[in-house]
């Protein structure tokens, strides 16, 4: 049953992944056409030179042919080459990806560890001071630009702390640990960016846990558990909470595009050498093929993340498999 569900879910993800490649590719090539940045700026370039370069880049082919060549490469793990210097986009992404994943996964984990207890506490004491504070914080949390929180953190933890003689946390300059960086130093660099992302998702997920928990607590099986004379702690944590947090898995999956977007902004604030930072840097160099490769890669990654979340949900909640 599970295997059939997974197979069906995989089958429905493939068209989405393909569609994503089509959207990003068409968006780029329909607009950019055979444009190559900087080509027309060189006065020594003859029209023949320009034609030759376009031909070498394959830009004189019809659009469907170009797409076919590109997608064939994609299926072999080749996300194209830079328009500027011809470097492989795949290798550029792979060099940066561990950094982004480190940031995103740390934040997801921390956010869940904080949001679930907070949300449950709110649900158990509806209308209490604690509940109100949590609600207010979560509404405020989703109303602030993440990079603003980042800047405020820098203001307090880097600048102010430093000025009163406590060193403070580094606000940029993270080195890849592969390059032989000190793990402790790495952690110090990770602290602020991860805090910013975590804060935002605690805001969303604690609200969700709260309402999900409230719903679970009003269910018949909770009444039954209480009627059986189980201790309240067992009723709340074993019976209600377990059911309340299962839908969180889907929510985390659905938030993945947002997480990568948020991470991109945070990467820019703290100079974190991740994929988002790379895409932006390449966009300013008008290295379209690299931007296209990165966008497509991240999107496919997100589609796969959604898939994993759905399968995980099916394992945690057997009812899912029987639906649709």
């Amino acid at each position: 049953m599970l295997i059939r569900y997974v197979a069906r879910r995989v089958a429905s993800s493939i068209p989405v992944a393909f569609g994503v490649t089509l959207i990003t590719f068409l968006l780029l090539h329909a607009v950019a056409g055979s444009f190559v940045p900087g080509l027309t700026l060189n006065p020594d370039m003859t029209p023949q030179d320009v034609e030759r370069i376009r031909h070498n880049l394959g830009l004189d082919q019809p659009l469907p042919v170009q797409y076919f060549i590109w997608i064939t490469g994609l299926l072999h793990g080749d996300f194209g080459h830079s328009l500027i210097d011809g470097t492989s986009v795949t290798s550029e992404i792979l060099a940066r990806l561990p950094n982004t994943l480190e940031l995103v996964s740390t934040s997801i984990l921390l956010a869940l560890l904080i949001a679930v207890p907070l949300g449950s506490a709110g649900a158990l004491r509806v209308g209490s001071l604690l509940d109100r504070v949590i609600t207010l914080m979560s509404v405020a949390g989703i109303s602030m630009p993440s990079f603003w929180i980042g800047l405020l953190l820098i203001l307090v933890l880097s600048i102010w702390l430093h000025s009163i003689g406590y060193g403070g946390l580094p606000s940029s300059g993270a080195q890849s640990p592969i390059g032989g960086g000190d793990p402790l130093d790495r952690l110090a660099h990770l602290a602020m960016p991860a805090t910013v992302l975590t804060f935002y998702y605690v805001a969303i997920w604690s609200r969700f846990t709260r309402s999900s928990m409230l719903e679970a607590l009003s269910q018949e099986y909770v009444k039954t558990a209480r009627a059986k004379g189980l201790r309240e702690r067992r009723v709340v944590f074993i019976h209600a909470l377990r059911n309340a947090i299962v839908p969180l898995v889907t929510l985390v999956g659905l938030e993945l595009p947002g997480l990568f977007s948020g991470a991109a902004l945070v990467e820019v604030v703290f100079g974190w050498p991740g994929v988002g930072n790379l895409a932006l840097q390449k966009a300013f160099e008008y290295d379209f093929t690299t931007v296209l490769g990165i966008t497509t890669f991240v999107s496919i990654f997100v589609v796969m993340g959604n898939l994993v979340a759905d399968v995980l949900l099916a394992i945690l909640d057997p009812r899912v498999k029987y639906k649709t």
Partner: protein
């Protein structure tokens, strides 16, 4: 009471007997408005939002009559000024008056949000309406397209779209001094073109749940055209959902716009939205000189987004007749 009101009433209460009717002839919209007005918390945020909007609209007047500064006039003898009688909220790195720039910034931030929301609500509603009304293959195609659009992390899509923008206008972006330039209108269009997906999904689900109701059947059997059914009969019933989405959308777009400014694909200097002011404040060592430059624009964004979100929630409650019992 007109029949359309009766129909609306029936639909929104989900077919239950509307036991909460206040007067015999009060329509659904009037009731909702009454409920919203009674919600003091929600109304407070509505007022804050209105004040922010009014201040932004009045920016030229404020500039001329209150602060006596132009948003872009520099005074290099008074940079990173603290709050004083001459500059109520201090000055930035070029000696420009922060208060003046804040009200002008609101014009761009809120203006872009308003325009963008109008656009994406229109696109999203149309797509969602067609998908939900025709169902079948049309629904399948449109909604799969929405799935794909929503799978691409928005910032990356913005970067891609923005980096392409100069080409159709015939500019060679390879030129060294060329940077991605947006004016408020092109920025609003770019944001809207990427953000309509969730509205389409929302409207489609709503239409899908309404389209088998008796009033649709009745109108259909009276010979109403598809067009008339969609926009005269279904649309008014979906409107509450759309209005709430628009309010939440305003908040969302203010944040998105600020984010785009921050990564450098938003409005270009010297014009400034709140996002630009924030971006500017983190350059070089400005943070050391004046924390106000970081705190104020961020606070303006927080206040407007918070108000839009709270107003959206309040309206959602007000539109739900069942909430009147609470």
């Amino acid at each position: 009471m007109s029949t359309s009101n009766l129909i609306t009433q029936e639909v929104v209460t989900g077919g239950q007997t509307a036991g909460v009717l206040e007067g015999p002839s009060e329509g659904y919209w009037k009731q909702s408005w009454t409920r919203l007005r009674r919600d003091r918390f929600g109304m407070t945020f509505a007022v804050i939002l209105a004040v922010l909007g009014a201040l932004s609209l009045a920016a030229p007047a404020i500039s001329a009559l209150v602060t006596h500064y132009d948003p872009n006039s520099q005074d290099l003898t008074d940079i990173f000024g603290r709050a004083s009688t001459a500059h109520w909220l201090g000055t930035d790195e070029l000696g420009r008056d922060t208060l003046t720039r804040l009200v002008w910034g609101g014009r761009i931030s809120l203006g872009v949000a308003l325009l963008s929301v109008t656009l994406f609500i229109t696109i999203g509603t149309t797509v969602g309406m067609f998908a939900g009304y025709y169902r079948g293959i049309i629904d399948e195609i449109l909604m799969r397209a929405v799935d794909m659009l929503l799978a691409i992390p928005p910032i990356f899509l913005f970067i891609l779209v923005s980096s392409l923008l100069p080409i159709p206008i015939g500019l060679d972006p390879g030129h060294p001094w060329f940077i991605i330039r947006h004016n408020p209108i092109s920025l609003a269009v770019v944001i809207a073109s990427v953000s309509w997906g969730w509205v389409a999904r929302l409207v489609r689900n709503e239409v899908l749940s309404l389209r088998d109701r008796d009033f649709v059947l009745a109108a259909h059997s009276l010979g109403a055209s598809d067009w008339r059914l969609m926009f005269r009969h279904l649309l008014p019933n979906v409107l509450p959902v759309i209005i709430v989405a628009a309010s939440l959308g305003v908040g969302q777009i203010v944040l998105v716009e600020a984010g785009l400014d921050f990564i450098g694909v938003g409005i270009q200097p010297p014009d400034a939205s709140w996002g630009d002011m924030l971006t500017n404040a983190q350059r070089e060592d400005f943070l050391y000189h004046s924390p106000l430059l970081v705190i104020l624009p961020g606070a303006a964004i927080l206040l407007s987004v918070l108000s839009a979100n709270m107003l959206g929630n309040a309206m959602r409650d007000a539109f739900d007749p069942r909430s009147a019992n609470r």
